[in-house]
């Protein structure tokens, strides 16, 4: 690894920052130039992420690339760390970024000021959060991505966005405050901010200091859980995501995963199985909170009237599933959860983009009808009794494409075959039921594991119900709706995301191998620590 390759890790942060800075200085009417720059930046990010993933995966069991910023030694200066997990998340982020940008090219880019710059900063924040190996630097990147998300949430303006956005900003600022408190407590007790160094120091920490560290970690955890929208900390999510402009919402589907990422990284690094007394800290809470979040998400999905909120409910289910899976603390479950994270983030992103296309050319209120018609009976079921000589109505190409995309999103999110959602759910559930591996001796399934199994199956059913209802109302029932005018550049990103989901199904083997290797190295952080700090534990 030499030459340009060793600087690949900084590219996903530096490039959007530099291009974003140029975009800020450019005038608003240079939007074509900005769009081209943004596109180039995201494509470069995509390539870099892919290259990093290949590097990380090729590097064997404990492959890790440490990038020492400012050339200062680790634990003293800030380091970036590229392992399989961060490379994977970079890749997903770049994909969603690409989709959002393409979609915005149609008209959203000009619905407010500085869209392109904000998008670049948003991506920079996400990438930085996934790359950094320093706790305070993580805070900084959380701030970057949140600040940018405030801007993007308000993009396009309007009462609903401002209203939901203010709740969002307030909650997340309060959470950032907790983040800061937690970080300073940990620093105060442990004397370091480097995650790996922290993990190395933890087992040697005097018992009297441990409670304080754990309290700090707990407060930090609460901050992360706000971002991950765990019940009851995530009520801000649905209104905000539902009100946000589609490209912004598509990116946000990755943003709620950042909280999950932080929990996953830190819980396994600091409180993994071999960290002595603190092992398994908080896992029960994660599991319980995750399951309740799944239930809450499922209920929201069932009871909601409009499509954007439906998608928001799916984000909640996805977050809850991931948190509970992290709380399970088993390698196989983590592997499945990573698969799930990828596929659900992509599908939710696609769904957010799709919803707006479906909404076009449709009379408002069809969503309300979907639920209320049910409550008061259809009223039109008598009119066509003798319908067998009914003649089919050709579905226009546009509608057929939209319907297929919607169906695919619904299948992924409900976890039904044949798409990636099914494999993801299977991988997680298989891991829960067979912790030691399938057929490798009798295994005890925890009550939490059973609860998660039930919650996953039921949430899938709830998603299916809600999606069918919404889909039928929007795509089949509205007979005299105008066919929406959909540009190629708008449907392309949706197709892109769905194709990736399909690809993940077909190539389930290699993809799963990557995920499981990721999970395995996350669960054995000793190598990670050794490579960063350079001393044995």
């Amino acid at each position: 690894m030499n030459g340009w390759q060793q600087h690949l890790a900084i590219l996903p942060i530096a490039l959007p920052l530099i291009l974003g800075a140029i975009m800020v200085a450019l005038d608003e009417h240079r939007w074509r130039l900005k769009a081209a720059m943004g596109l180039a930046s995201i494509l470069a990010m995509l390539a870099a992420a892919a290259a990093l993933a290949v590097q990380a995966h090729a590097g064997g069991a404990a492959s890790l690339q440490v990038y020492r910023l400012g050339n200062w030694p680790a634990s003293f200066g800030i380091v970036l760390m590229v392992d399989r997990l961060s490379a994977l998340l970079l890749l997903v982020t770049a994909l969603l970024g690409l989709a959002a940008l393409l979609y915005a090219l149609a008209h959203w880019q000009r619905m407010g000021a500085h869209f392109h710059a904000l998008l670049q900063f948003q991506l920079m924040g996400l990438n930085g959060a996934f790359l950094t190996g320093d706790l305070f630097n993580l805070f900084v990147f959380f701030e970057v991505l949140l600040a940018a998300s405030y801007g993007l949430a308000l993009h396009g303006s309007g009462v609903a966005r401002v209203k939901a956005g203010l709740h969002y900003i307030s909650m997340n600022l309060a959470a950032s405050l907790l983040f800061l408190i937690g970080v300073s407590m940990i620093y105060g007790v442990a004397g370091t901010l480097n995650m790996a160094d922290l993990a190395a120091r933890l087992p040697r920490m005097p018992a009297a200091d441990r409670p304080l560290l754990e309290a700090g970690a707990a407060i930090l955890g609460v901050a992360f859980l706000v971002k991950a929208a765990m019940w009851p900390l995530g009520f801000w999510l649905m209104p905000t995501y539902a009100a946000a402009s589609p490209p912004a919402a598509a990116i946000f589907s990755m943003m709620s995963k950042v909280g999950v990422y932080a929990v996953l990284r830190l819980v396994l690094l600091l409180f993994g199985p071999e960290t002595g007394e603190s092992a398994g800290f908080g896992n029960t809470w994660l599991m319980a909170g995750g399951v309740v979040t799944i239930v809450f998400g499922a209920i929201s999905v069932l009871g909601t009237q409009d499509l954007p909120r439906l998608a928001g409910g799916c984000v909640l289910i996805s977050s809850g599933t991931l948190l509970a899976a992290v709380g399970a603390g088993q390698i196989a479950v983590t592997g499945g959860a990573l698969f799930y994270l990828t596929s659900s983030a992509l599908a939710i992103g696609a769904l957010f983009l799709l919803i707006e296309l479906l909404d076009r050319g449709r009379d408002l209120g069809a969503d309300v009808l979907a639920v209320t018609l049910e409550a008061f009976g259809d009223g039109d079921d008598e009119e066509e009794q003798q319908g067998d000589d009914g003649i089919g109505v050709p579905i226009p190409m546009t509608m057929a494409a939209l319907a297929t995309c919607f169906l695919c999103c619904a299948l992924v999110l409900a976890g039904l075959p044949p798409l990636s959602g099914f494999i993801a759910k299977f991988a997680m559930l298989d891991g829960i039921l067979n912790p030691a591996g399938l057929g490798k001796g009798p295994a005890l399934v925890t009550p939490g594991g059973w609860a998660l199994l039930i919650a996953l199956i039921l949430s899938g059913f709830a998603t299916l119900l809600a999606m069918t209802r919404a889909g039928i109302r929007n795509l089949w029932a509205d007979l005299d709706r105008a066919v929406p005018r959909v540009g190629a550049v708008e449907i392309a990103p949706v197709l892109l995301l769905i194709f990736v989901c399909i690809g993940m199904t077909v190539a389930a083997g290699p993809v799963m191998r990557y995920m499981q290797a990721t999970a395995a190295s996350l669960h054995t952080p000793q190598d990670y620590v050794r490579q960063v700090v350079g001393r044995p534990r």
Binding site: N137, V162, M171, V222, G390, L453, I457
Partner: protein
């Protein structure tokens, strides 16, 4: 290799056909030939495989899919699977042929055939799966394509509702099956069918047997329309008739039965198996047959009859008897042939007359004699008339019912009676189907003039009916080998001796058959008048309306229940959310501390200085007062906040942190001014009378308690942290290396721009983004009407109310610029730096705005804050990136001293350029926010919104938000 070819082809061919078909233009009728060819080829593949099985080999193929998960794509065809595969592809072919004539030329036909072929592929995948997870995979796919096919005429409400109901029930059952298979795999330790089938004893003895059984049975019962999940099937009849013939009689609904038989060696043989399945099968058998009699729609009659026959098969499977198993497999084959042909006959009638209502149809025997003969034979098979295939399997059923009756439980002993009763009912509805449509006087009162269908539309029916007859007359010579292979692949060596013959002598089953025939005819005569009176609904079972129950459950789940729970579990209010956040953070920390407790550290404390203590008391009082006044007296609260900030600033000075103090001071100034500017446009908040209410007081008390607890908790943990001896961490290294390696004596600045310059870069980005967001938010903002007027102080005579300060402010502007630059340049070694300097310069601009007003400043000075920001960020990031050009990591700094001769040495660190970027960004961002706020005074308010109407809360809220 050869196995791989035809097994894979059998599954993949239909999918490939579906894909190609989907891409063809609408209304291309050639599609039918493509689809038919695909189906025929698929059948050929199955037949190829069958010859292998007949030779005693089980062809299988395995492709790796996700081996990490124990998932491989494995296909395997034994006799039982082959039976189903033949039905799926063979009847599939006939249905395609039939559809070619049935579907209207105006129908968008490619979509139809595409779904039909995809369904065929899924069905093939389902029956050929050698892995249970893969089976579930295809299982759900069949549900999905069934949904799409039922909803094919999506313009009909009945089709939409039927499709949705079918999907909900069958896919929901599929999820249960998924869970059940997972549990089964957990018990066995493998999802491979062979391994599972070999582990029967292990499974039946396992404590998780019952949950697994119930879940799997749920899947099977929903799919095979067993009571109480039967209701979706009649509504699925909204599908085009070929679909009903294919999916809802021959294949899809048999999938549940298929699963029961497939897992029979593992799950059957227990009491639980019998006691769940037998009552379900029995009720389904009887209720289905009974309700079928009273249907006026031919397809509905057939649908209920299908339900009844599925119940019969389930009942057979539940008996835990090997012979009953054979009978079940036999009946599966027979039912598929006669029911598919009957559906097609019903479709022909509908196609040629325009109606399916038995009450309207009459005497079709004259106009369509051929069809009438065919239907007559098929219905005879359904009724169990001798010399037809239905008769033989029914005889076997009677025999089994009688054998089972020897077991002394009530349920076993009533089986013969129930079986006879069900057969009577079956004869009745078969009679009604035939007699109602084909006999009686010819009628003119039909939408179309009836005539025979096109010849090839009849061919599929002819083939199936021919099969009914041949099997009925020569069972062992025709279906014998297939049945034997199928039974053997389930029962293995335990396959019992059985005889397929029409004549077994004059025995009890034959008597039962005769009773059934005679009873059925008698019952039809008895009910004839009632049936033709045109009364809707089923006597005695009017209340049994599965659809209404389904709708009610759906409404309950998705409307009342979900919304009630959501109200209970969620809140829209920000206060509540923040309260929860604080409480949970408090609880989280407390729970973490609880097991070990919290002890202060052992640092030697210095004595408290009374002056500093007093200062802190004042600061604390200011903070509390600010919170107390924040609701109604914003200005006072802001002043108090300033006080608290000032005390913090003094504290920094006291603890010798000049950099922090300076920064804090400038931040205090800028934020206070910006907030004051913002407050100017906030509508005034009037203390309402309600605020003194007892409940409101209690609420505030509670909030006070929460705030106090959280505050005290934070104090406690801060105290505990700070009194600890600081660990041997990185802080000492900062001090040691700042000058030697960072080239600066101001450690804080070296940390900011060098050691942790990356953090700084992130933070200035945040500042920039926030400024952009504020700018974007305020760009569309218009002040509220009530806050547009000039404030009191600016009204009236006192025009020059700020004259002297204004002059002063203008005069010191150059001084401020100079000081700011000075602070910037000395930053690396002395207190100062880019951040402080940027703020300082921004304050200079701020003062100009205060002094001269927005218009005056902008007439005289163009700041272009966006350019400053872009430039600043670019400079900072560019400095970092420059290191890469030298082969060093991002942000690696370089420093040296330039000797300027008499002027002394000038420190030249690349970090200084970075700091310059910080300076530019901070200045630009602060000024951008200032300008965004300042421009409010230049704007006109929007036209007053219409007064809010009380009944419509939305517009009112909208208006409030917009202002």
């Amino acid at each position: 290799m050869q196995d791989a070819f035809y097994l894979l082809a059998a599954v993949l061919l239909p999918y490939a056909g579906a894909l190609i078909t989907a891409l063809l233009p609408a209304n291309a009728r050639t599609v039918a030939w493509l689809a038919g060819g695909t189906a025929l080829l698929t059948l050929l593949m199955v037949v190829l495989g069958y010859s292998d099985i007949a030779a005693g080999r089980i062809p299988r193929v395995a492709l790796p899919w996700a081996p990490e998960l124990g998932l491989s794509f494995t296909l395997r065809m034994d006799g039982f699977a082959a039976t189903f595969a033949v039905m799926a592809s063979g009847i599939g072919f006939l249905v395609v042929l039939y559809s070619r004539y049935y579907m209207s030329p105006d129908d968008p036909i490619p979509r139809f055939f595409s779904f039909l072929l995809a369904f065929m592929g899924s069905m093939m995948g389902l029956v050929l799966s050698a892995n249970l997870i893969q089976l579930v995979f295809f299982w759900e796919l069949t549900s999905l394509f069934s949904f799409l096919l039922i909803g094919y005429w999506q313009n009909l409400a009945a089709a939409r509702d039927g499709a949705r109901m079918a999907l909900t029930v069958t896919a929901g059952g599929g999820l249960a099956l998924f869970a059940g298979v997972l549990v089964l795999g957990h018990i066995v330790g493998s999802y491979e069918l062979d391994a599972v089938l070999a582990a029967g004893n292990l499974v039946r003895a396992h404590p998780l047997y019952l949950p697994a059984l119930v879940l799997i049975l749920l899947g099977a019962m929903t799919k095979s329309a067993q009571f109480p999940f039967h209701f979706w099937l009649p509504h699925a009849m909204a599908a085009p008739t070929p679909v009903s013939a294919y999916l809802h009689s021959a294949t899809l609904v048999k999938a549940g039965i298929f699963l029961l038989a497939r897992l029979w060696p593992v799950l059957a043989g227990t009491d639980a198996w019998f006691w769940i399945l037998c009552p379900v099968g029995l009720i389904t058998l009887l209720v289905g047959a009974y309700v079928a009699i009273f249907q006026h729609d031919m397809k509905a009659l057939l649908a209920y009859s299908t339900i009844s026959h599925l119940g019969l098969i389930t009942l057979l499977l539940s008996l835990n008897s090997d012979l009953a198993m054979v009978a079940a497999v036999f009946h599966i084959i027979n039912h598929a042939t006669f029911k598919a042909s009957l559906f097609m006959a019903a479709g022909i009638i509908d196609h040629e007359t325009g109606t399916r209502d038995i009450r309207r149809l009459s005497g079709l025997n004259q106009s369509m004699p051929f069809t009438a003969r065919l239907a007559l034979v098929a219905a005879g098979a359904m009724a169990g008339v001798p010399l037809l295939n239905g008769f033989i399997s029914k005889e076997m059923f009677f025999t089994e019912a009688l054998t089972a009756a020897t077991t002394p439980t009530l349920l076993h002993s009533i089986l013969p009676i129930a079986a006879t009763l069900a057969s009577i009912l079956a004869v009745t509805y078969s009679l009604r189907f035939i007699h109602g449509a084909f006999f009686g006087p010819e009628t003119d009162d039909l939408p179309k003039k009836p005539h025979e269908p096109p010849q090839f539309m009849r061919v599929p029916v002819e083939i199936l009916v021919f099969a009914c007859m041949v099997v009925g007359i020569l069972p062992s010579a025709t279906v014998g080998p297939l049945l034997d292979l199928a039974a053997r692949s389930i029962l293995g060596d335990a396959t019992p001796e059985y005889s397929l013959a029409v004549w077994h002598g004059f025995n009890l089953p034959l008597v039962m058959s005769l009773i059934a025939l005679a009873g059925g005819v008698a019952l039809y005569r008895l009910l004839y008048r009632h049936l033709n009176a045109g009364i809707d609904g089923t006597p005695l079972l009017e209340r049994l309306d599965g659809r209404r129950a389904f709708d009610q459950v759906m409404v309950f789940i998705s409307w009342r229940f979900a919304r009630a729970l959501e109200r209970l579990m969620a809140t829209d209010r920000l206060q509540m959310q923040l309260r929860l956040l604080v409480c949970i953070a408090f609880l989280a920390a407390t729970l973490a501390l609880l097991p070990h407790g919290l002890a202060p550290g052992g640092v030697q404390l210095t004595p408290v200085d009374p002056v500093v203590a007093l200062m802190w008391v004042v600061g604390g009082a200011c903070a509390i007062a600010a919170a107390y006044q924040a609701k109604y007296h914003r200005l006072a609260a802001l002043v108090m906040l300033g006080g608290a900030g000032l005390v913090t600033c003094l504290t920094f000075v006291w603890f010798s942190a000049p950099d922090l103090a300076l920064t804090q001071l400038l931040v205090e100034i800028v934020t206070t001014v910006l907030m004051l500017l913002g407050l100017r446009w906030m509508p005034k908040r009037i203390e309402s009378a309600g605020s003194g209410h007892i409940l409101a007081r209690l609420r505030r008390l509670r909030d006070l308690a929460i705030a106090a607890a959280a505050g005290l908790g934070l104090t406690a943990i801060s105290y505990a942290t700070m009194t600890r001896v600081s660990p041997d961490g990185i802080s000492r290294q900062f001090l040691e290396r700042a000058y030697t390696e960072g080239g600066g004596t101001n450690v804080v600045n070296v940390i900011l721009v060098d050691f942790r310059g990356f953090d700084t870069m992130g933070e200035i980005t945040v500042l920039g983004i926030v400024a952009l967001t504020v700018f974007a938010l305020l760009r569309r903002f218009r002040p509220a009407a009530e806050s547009v007027g000039m404030p009191e102080q600016q009204q009236g005579e006192a025009r020059d109310w700020l004259l002297i300060p204004a002059v002063t402010m203008r005069l010191i502007f150059p001084v401020i610029i100079a000081v700011s630059l000075y602070l910037l340049l000395r930053g690396h070694d002395q207190p100062g730096g880019g951040f402080i300097a940027g703020l300082m310069l921004a304050i200079g601009i701020l003062l100009q705005y205060m002094a001269g007003g927005t218009r005056w400043v902008e007439d005289h000075l163009r700041v272009l804050p966006l350019r400053w920001m872009g430039f600043g960020l670019l400079l900072a990031a560019g400095t970092g990136a420059a290191a890469i050009a030298f082969g060093k990591p991002f942000l690696t700094s370089y420093f040296a001293y330039a000797d300027l001769g008499p002027l002394g040495k000038l420190p030249l660190a690349s970090a200084v350029i970075f700091d310059l970027g910080v300076f530019a960004l901070v200045f630009g961002a602060t000024v951008l926010m200032l300008i965004a706020l300042a421009h409010q005074s230049v704007r006109r308010p929007r036209a007053a919104p219409p007064p809010p109407v009380a009944a419509l809360p939305e517009p009112a809220a909208a208006a409030a938000g917009e202002n």
